[in-house]
Symmetry: D2
Subunit: 373 residues, 4 copies
């Protein structure tokens, strides 16, 4: 953190603010406003809820995994009336259930639908366009709040096209930054809702943010150094091209799944349409501790794998493949898992890395032939 | 920000967490718990209020300057019932008023007294020990909430000895870090209050923080990279010695005031006992724009001075002398102001820097003779 | 390069100098003096020659590869009388030839024998102990000068035990630093030779270096920032343990060779006893351009492989596996080569990465079982 | 040194090489070739001598101070025949002596004239244009070698206009970098001389450098990371403008001398036309140790002043005012000296800083009025 901290009310900071606020719109694929909080992603959850809802409001949420469960807890703590749909943690949000729930709600007591786009604990990505279509079919006025913390700048996400009302992001995943920035992208409808929402709020309040952001400033001290770093991340994303970033994650997701299949292990996500391209959660063979495997891999290869969270604890390990990541890092990562499975003596087949190499190679060849065409 | 972001659930992060939580106790001069939020100082204000108070609770606050005014706004926005004592922004909190207000409040409707230790906008430091003594004389059970954002690790502040209930700090001043960490130091009484306080809270909730902090972890993603930097700051403070840090700020405050007096300019703070040792706010001569002076100094010497805030706008400039700062940086800073006054053509006397040099020299000689004795 | 450049005549720099000079002795495995030049490794070659030899002196050298050839050029340019033994660039120095050459030299016209320990262009490591034994058998007084630029802190090298007279190193390989430091480790015999050696020298002169180094200083401005970085490298080496560093390179060398064999490609080095553990040079199949392969791998995976140098140009690519390197980086590297061979359409067998994984896994298991025993 | 070290034979490095080689021409104010050595400035001395001279060649040198004396030692060590003109270390090179010496030398035995542009030990700047004029008047073919190590990018220096043959620089002064790069700027005449010069050379040899530099490469490993940093320095110089950089140093030199005069202390340099604008050497009052003063200032203000070198040891302290330096840093520096003189109890008058402030202020006003005109 060698850059000196600048005066956050000075002109240099104003220009920086305008630049990163504009850049974040591209990332969210929106022409609307984006709010940047000096907070972790959990703060951005709270920002979405407190600006749009009032005490006792009903919010329809789907517990598709551990992070969804934590977000539900936040809603409960803030005094909202949660209507939670449980799942097996192996599927995403069921748009038919969304539609049915909203159709039942004739009095429009449900004020918001809260869904996680990419559930990190299970490696399941829900279709937000399907959720939105269901809401539209039900002609229900509820707001659509979407957690994109682990999909932003990794998995294609379209705030405007999919008519999200608040999209909730953080700095530490696809934005390739340390944690410390939370994002809210807003629709006009969300902004309108904030005029009447009565949950108490100050730090998370959008209104003074929007007022000050007009000139690139913030109503209270922003995380200046992270804003500088954000400018660099945005530049990196622009250089690679957001669509290329998405394609890279698609390739790495598929290569990882080929390795998992070759090992004979089981993906947590059951529906191929819902496979996450930023993280893959994998069951260890029954009777074999995922935490033991993670420890073996950490001890031998100094690689920390994601732990199984909540009810997946000790049953699942998670392979992250997002952010500042490339083919050879993925090959190294998969190599570490394959060797770890062997060292730990877990039943598996070899050949996962080989399968990933085959897929990546074929994909390189295809790109080259497309480029020639 | 070259250090790779670490897994915030891994063992390395746990050790780091324990170390910085322990270190922050020394800085607050407390044996109680310290909470670290991934937030700016404004978030730490909100943490103090939401954990200890309930909707409609009355809080006695003193608008001693712009930052106090902003904190009051936070309290209002959160639905608290503010009892605000106005001041001329040139004095600190009047302990006699505290005592009188609390004595009047026979039903103990006032649940908390909120004071700013060091008001950055005016360069006024209030006596927290006097406030506490007044509260004790009034035998009133209100909690004492103290904003130490711009005094922590600069001006002597004693959480335990002065019986503060919540002390509110941030990373970007005396801790010499970028903004992005907010602190709450807690008394047992504050912790007890949090059990019954009913303001909705999730991000700011102390209870899950305390539970996870026991092992050095956090209930949601902490600002990991700032925690690493905090460890280094704590090490620097320990090497210099906290008491020496305070003495250094006393010297620099006094040297700055000698310069101001020599220039024939007027300090905003009127009571010498309340002069701030981390920042000095100075009136420009009547009829002369402080913002013009600041611009001249920025243009000629690339030095940004603090602006006059709120009702002091364009009337006052502020000289910061806190954090990672030494004698020669102070001399340079004062030189920039003295030259700026001349270039701007503002009525003043020369000799400010010379007066500061005299004082600093004498102070060095005195230290040396004390060391010999 | 954020650390401010320090006064190289101040006490801080003296302590630093003493510390790194001492540390480098451990790395060379010597109790004698080590000289640190602000130069690349080529400068350290020149230092070794100019301090020990006189114009027209005869030096026996072995052109085992491109770097040996460059060093020979240096000797020629400096006016030495080279007696060069050519090789096929696929073998190291032949100790029997050393012995024969020295035995022939009854007048002791040969003043020095210059050998490269690890030839980077071919991946061949010569046995220095065998060379020394041959010299001793021949009872010849020539000095033994050894280039350890690409083996230092990677491949076991013992300056004292193997009775080297000058060992020549650089910062940019096993020391894991940017280029800019050259090293000479000295025997007493080399020091004695420098008293009468008449090649002109000033920058490279050991005598003023040794005089100033006694207090940690240098006769002219050292590369201060690299010395700070060197202190950190030495600390890293000490933490891992030099013997463990060597073992890690042995494992990575072997894993790489297993991959090469599995691909059906041919190692440049022919004698298994001479396989380099820091770099592997590999022939592409006859008629297939190594530079094309390197370009394919650079374009697709952003990985630069070492080029074929000198007479190996376009026939050979080189895989480096030294320095700050670990198992998963190696797996990624080998994965990049295997995919590149496929994309380039070069005849080869798959399975190189798989063979490396098998070897690395077995080696981890063996270490674990040894640790348990 | 967080940037990873790049492959110095790869295309990225070639572009970097071309860019910095071109940039250095601007700094030397030449359209000829510039050589960049991975070395300290002393290496660049050796480069200038070994490429242009032969064993026993006569070189006319002027011992104007300690660095000149060290350079003379280098020439002697390399076997040159020095014709040294002694001075009182308080004056620069006397052009009349140059002319007289060269006129006497009817056989043109003198092959080069070696002068230091800015002698750091004494704060004396010699007039290179006067030296060149004297050489031209004498119609003598000797080469003009100029050490600009402490003037490059600080004090106006014109390689082409002043017809220097080799200009010798380093990275650690006006280029604002760590030590580790040495520069030689060459005239065509110098290049021609290198074809017949017979001092042995390899590392310093210009010919392979020039050959490889054509494509931005180097014949042996360059100090890659310093080349990246050099690119940034060149960008900073270009942004400020080289002429503005020179003016800034002129202002700081004059402000420093006003302070010295106000203190009643004596400048080492006696001739105002020869005052250095990058460093000022000052005598302490007779009988008072300069080293004691330096220690007092280091202890009290953590500021290391330059020591008196060679025959000026303990009599002189040196104030550097070059490189990445601004008005307020200068004021702080002078403040440290003024306070140090007082604390040390050395006879002096106060008012040095005040005099500097007056001068700097007047200079700012003048610039502003010029800008308005």
């Amino acid at each position: 953190m060698s850059r000196p901290t600048i005066d956050h009310r000075g002109p240099e900071c104003g220009l920086l603010g305008l630049e990163v606020l504009e850049g974040m719109k591209e990332v969210f694929q929106t022409s609307g406003k984006v709010i940047i909080f000096p907070s972790s992603g959990s703060g951005a959850w709270e920002g979405a809820l407190t600006n749009t809802l009032s005490p006792g409001d009903k919010i329809l949420m789907f517990e598709v995994g551990q992070f969804a469960a934590l977000w539900i807890q936040v809603a409960v703590k803030l005094g909202l009336n949660d209507d939670v749909v449980q799942t097996d943690w192996r599927h995403g949000v069921d748009a038919q259930v969304v539609e049915a729930k909203l159709r039942e709600d004739r009095d429009h007591k449900i004020k918001a639908v809260g869904v996680v786009h990419n559930e990190t604990s299970s490696g399941v990505t829900s279709s937000i366009s399907a959720v939105r279509a269901a809401m539209n079919r039900a002609r229900h006025p509820a707001l659509l709040l979407v957690d994109v913390i682990s999909s932003l700048a990794s998995i294609d996400y379209r705030h405007d096209e999919w008519e999200a009302d608040v999209s909730i992001g953080g700095s530490q995943k696809g934005m390739m930054l340390p944690p410390g920035l939370g994002f809210n992208a807003l629709s006009d409808k969300a902004l309108a809702a904030s005029a009447s929402a009565r949950l108490p709020r100050s730090y998370w309040d959008w209104q003074p943010m929007i007022a000050q952001n007009a000139n690139g400033f913030f109503p209270y001290t922003p995380a200046t150094n992270l804003l500088f770093a954000l400018r660099e991340s945005l530049q990196m994303l622009r250089e690679e091209g957001l669509q290329n970033v998405f394609k890279r994650h698609v390739r790495h997701g598929e290569a990882t799944r080929r390795a998992v299949a070759a090992w004979g292990l089981e993906n947590v996500a059951l529906d191929p349409k819902e496979y996450s391209n930023s993280v893959t959660a994998v069951y260890t063979p029954t009777g074999h501790s995922a935490d033991e495997l993670r420890q073996v891999i950490l001890d031998n290869f100094n690689m920390p794998l994601g732990t199984g969270l909540g009810k997946l604890q000790d049953k699942v390990f998670r392979i992250g493949h997002l952010g500042d990541f490339n083919d050879l890092m993925l090959v190294g990562t998969l190599g570490g898992v394959e060797m770890g499975l062997d060292i730990a003596g877990f039943p598996h087949r070899k050949g996962g890395v080989a399968a990933a190499l085959d897929y990546l190679t074929a994909s390189c060849k295809e790109s080259a032939s497309l480029a020639r065409a």
